[in-house]
Structure formats: C-alpha cells, structure tokens
C-alpha cells in the first residue's frame, strides 16, 4: 500500500482529494489529508462581509463535509516536512508518504511592516483578508462617521490581487447607499504603477476610478505606519494620512514551509510552472497559493491547476513523463459596485482582453466590460464554490487552458 498525503484542506487540497479519490486505485493507494482547522472558509466572501452583504454563515462550513469518503482526514497542525525521509511530522504523529501534495496556501503577515501592529491595529487599521479582520472591519464601518479612507496593498504577490480594488469600489457604493459618500475621501495606494495589476486593464478601466472619485497613489513601497501621525510612509518619505486604513499586509506561505526549508523569501515553494512539480523534490507537488508561480493566487486558478495536477499525479504513479500543461489560466470577476462587475480572463503570456465568455460572440458574460450579468456571476461563484469547485466538478464550458475564442486582441500593453 502506498501513501499519498495532501497538506492543507483549503480550496486546493479539498479539490485534489475529490479528484484523486476516484482516480487512484483504492487497493494500492491510501490518501490522507491534513488541516489544522475544523472550519473551511469561503475566502472570496471576506470581501463582502465588511459591507454586510454576506453574513458569517455564508462564508464558513465544516471542512470535513467536503472531504470524500475513502480519504483519511486528520485535523492537526503540520509541524515539519522532512523531504529527505519522505515524512511529515504532525503535532504528535509522523506520516510517511510516497507522494506529497502541498496545499498550505498563503496568509497575511502584518508583522512584516513596521508599525502595522501598533496601537491603531484593529482600532483604525484593519485587514479584510482574514475572517476575524473582515468582521472587525464590518463592525467599524457600521459606526464610522467618515473621513479619509485609505485602501492599501503592502507588496505583491497577494492572493486575489484585484480584491483591494474591488474593496475600494464597493466602499464607494456602500457609502453612497448610506448617504454619506460626501463625508468620505477614498484613496487607493498601490506598490504597482497602475490600479490594476495588468497594464491592459489599467488602460481599459482607469475611467472607473475617476467615475467613483477614488484617488490613486502608485509606486508606493511602504516603509512604516506612523501611528502618531496616522499616516503610511514610504521610502522616499511620501506620507499618506488616514482616518481609516484598510490594508492588505504582506502575504506569505505558512511557517511550516520555512521550518522545512522548502520556500523562498516569502515561504512560497519553487514549482515548475507547467507541471506543478516542486523544483527540489520529484515526489513533492505544489498547488494553489503555496506555489511561487507567476500566476494569480486565486481559487479559480487553483481549480485549473487541480485538473492538470490530477493528470500529472496519475502519470507520475505510472512512471510516465509529466504533462507540461498548466498555462497560468485565471478567470476573475471584479466587483465594481452598484451591482455590476467585470470579468477578466488571462494566462502567463496573454494579457486580459475584450470579448465574450465563455462562448464566442454570445457570452453571456462580457470580458473587461461592466455588466449586471458579471455581478450575478460573481455572486453565483459562492454557490459554485461550495457545490462544484471544491468537489472537483468541472465548471461547464470553462477549460483548464485559456481559450482564444471570442476574444478581441485590441488593447496593447504599452505602459
């Protein structure tokens, strides 16, 4: 009997368990999955919690419910991976593996920025990348009377790179609906040279910021948070004052990766970008936010990766060459407020473009254009997530590789 061990039962790990249970012969393989927490969070919902759009119950469920029969589920903390011995040390037991899939994700590391965890943390400074952070921010927003709202990204990469911009858009709508938009001054601060992480998007979508009167500060590499002055300060002493700071702290892989000596500076694991095999060990595979790949850290990306990785695991068990298949495909809805959203579709090489999705000319979803349909798409994603994505059911008509049908290659990335 051989052992396949999956570390992390978040989006990626859960999908892999569901894919593999029906593909690996039961008489030969035992599949085990490990996670420290009982609760599985729907992280995309954290964007909506602060604005009272979603309730707590809509974004969390018991994780075990999504682990298929036939897969052993262990709820324990992972202490260390011992790649030379093909073992994983949990808090009080050790597992052996023939194949290891690392799906430990990424999380915020606010202590990486000086002053962020100072006296203003959770008083006037909040994150919305954690369940607790999003709830604390909701409570703050319920009673906030206005002032300078600064929405800020510390450094790239972050998971769901468009979420902070969506937050700014939704904040605009939220304050409008509360009849207090005139009391709020919104500034979006990014370390990049434009609001969107992709140049074609910045070009096509900058009008949105103007329309919503959101100010933008680019190329801002934060040095510290000055708690006395209530300002964020960068390396050329640019100061941006705030009354309420909503920040996305540095995102890092879990400490277990660092303890195991498997990661880079940010605890992300060097991974082959087309096969998802780790660079250092051929029987260790990596998926989702835990990789160092130049692809978006997003659930939709992990979903496409899971299909390629499943095939590659099977090929690996049979001693065949791995498929060089994964192309960095990402497919993200971007909420723009007022019940509208955008949809973007891109990969490692191809920037987002205009067109329709998933069917050429028909849509119904429009790429890079605001529409109500896209907004429904985003809301439907929660249902799809719990009922299809986690279970590894393919999303109809959306392929693992990016399709070039129905797309207009009309915007050049030249800035």
């Amino acid at each position: 009997m051989k052992n396949l061990v999956i570390l992390g039962a978040g989006t990626s790990g859960t999908m892999m368990a569901n894919h593999l249970v029906s593909k690996l012969p039961k008489k030969d393989w035992k599949i085990t999955i490990v996670d420290q927490y009982k609760t599985h969070y729907y992280q995309p919902g954290f964007l909506f919690l602060p604005f009272d759009t979603y309730t707590e119950d809509q974004v969390k469920k018991e994780g075990k419910k999504f682990i298929p029969k036939g897969v052993y589920y262990i709820q324990k903390k992972i202490d260390k991976i011992l790649p030379e011995e093909n073992k994983v040390a949990l808090e009080d037991e050790t597992l052996s593996y023939d194949i290891l899939i690392v799906a430990t994700g990424s999380k915020i590391a606010p202590d990486e920025t000086d002053g962020l965890l100072g006296p203003l943390w959770k008083k006037d400074i909040f994150d919305f990348y954690t369940y607790e952070g999003a709830l604390a921010l909701r409570n703050k927003l319920r009673e906030w009377e206005g002032g300078k709202l600064v929405v800020h990204i510390t450094e790239m990469p972050i998971k769901c790179p468009v979420a902070p911009l969506e937050f700014a858009f939704l904040a605009d709508s939220y304050f409008k609906n509360k009849g207090m938009r005139d009391k709020v001054d919104i500034t979006y601060v990014t370390p990049l040279d434009g609001a969107f992480t992709k140049p074609t998007c910045t070009k096509a979508l900058n009008y949105l910021l103007k329309e919503k009167q959101i100010k933008i500060e680019t190329d801002f590499a934060i040095m510290e948070v000055d708690n006395d002055k209530k300002a964020i300060v960068d390396y050329v002493d640019r100061e941006i004052p705030f009354d309420l700071l909503v920040t996305v702290p540095t995102n890092m892989g879990d400490e277990v990766i660092e303890r195991s000596g498997l990661g880079d500076d940010l605890n992300f694991i060097p991974t082959h970008k087309h096969t998802l095999q780790s660079k250092a060990h051929e029987n260790i595979f990596v998926i989702g936010d835990a990789t160092n790949l130049p692809a978006s850290k997003a659930g939709s990306v992990a979903h496409f990766q899971a299909e390629t990785l499943t095939d590659n695991i099977i090929l690996y068990t049979k001693g065949f060459k791995l498929k060089q298949e994964f192309d960095g495909h990402a497919n993200c809805f971007i909420e723009t407020g007022n019940n509208k959203a955008l949809l973007i579709d891109f990969n490692y090489d191809q920037e987002p473009v205009h067109g329709t999705f998933p069917f050429a000319k028909i849509g119904p979803l429009k790429l890079l254009k605001e529409s109500v349909f896209n907004h429904w798409g985003k809301l439907a994603f929660r249902w799809i997530y719990w009922n299809m994505l986690l279970k590894g059911i393919p999303i109809p008509f959306v392929g693992r590789n990016m399709s070039f049908k129905g797309k207009k290659f009309d915007i050049k990335a030249d800035n």
Binding site: E155, M156, P157, P161, V162, P191, L192, D193, T197, K198, D219, A221, M223, Y235, V236, T250, D264, D265, L266, N292, P294, A295, S296, A330, F346, K412, A413, D414, N415
Partner: protein
C-alpha cells in the same frame, strides 16, 4: 523594435527594455542610465550586477529581495534610482521589467 543606443542598433520592447541581453554592455548601460538621469557610480554597478545575477538564476526581483540582498538597503536603492527603482534599474541592467505577478 530597434533603438539606437550608444551608436548601435539595439532590440528593445515597447517600453524600451532590452530584448536580447547579449546586446548589453557597459556602454549601452551608461547611455540608458543617462536617459534616466542616473549617473553610474561604483554602487550603481554593484546593484546592476546583483540584479543581472538574480535574473540569470531565474529568481524573481522585488523590493523585498533588495532588503535581503546584502548589497544595499531599500532607502539607498531609491536614492540611486529615483522614481521607480526596480523599473529603472532593470531597464539600465538590460533585463526584463519585473512582472507584477497578478
């Protein structure tokens, strides 16, 4: 796209970044630096070499990486290449502009 740099035709992309590192040398480097209003000093060269080395090893470049480079700290990096230091320094070093990794 071709651009004349240091009296030579050099292949560059739309943003002016060199497409073929083999065409880079110190002369080309100083010319591009001049266009960016940067006067190369010993320290500048040290940073350029560090960036090229990282690039050739396929290691991603980031502001954070600079902090741990052992070559300079971030404040100095901004002083050497005012404006967008990573964008400018990679342009001068003849290597691709770091991707923002969306």
């Amino acid at each position: 796209m071709k651009k004349v740099i240091a009296n030579r035709e050099i292949d560059v992309n739309e943003e002016g970044y060199l497409v073929d590192f083999k065409q880079w040398d110190r002369e080309v480097c100083e010319c591009i630096a001049g266009e960016c209003n940067v006067v190369m000093t010993e320290k500048h060269w040290e940073v350029i070499e560090y960036l090229q080395d990282k690039h050739h090893k396929d290691e991603p470049l980031s502001i954070r990486g600079i902090k741990k480079s052992g070559v300079i700290n971030i404040k100095e990096f901004y002083e050497l290449f005012p404006g967008g230091p990573l964008k400018k320094s990679t342009l001068i070093a003849g290597i691709p502009k770091p991707k923002s990794c969306i």
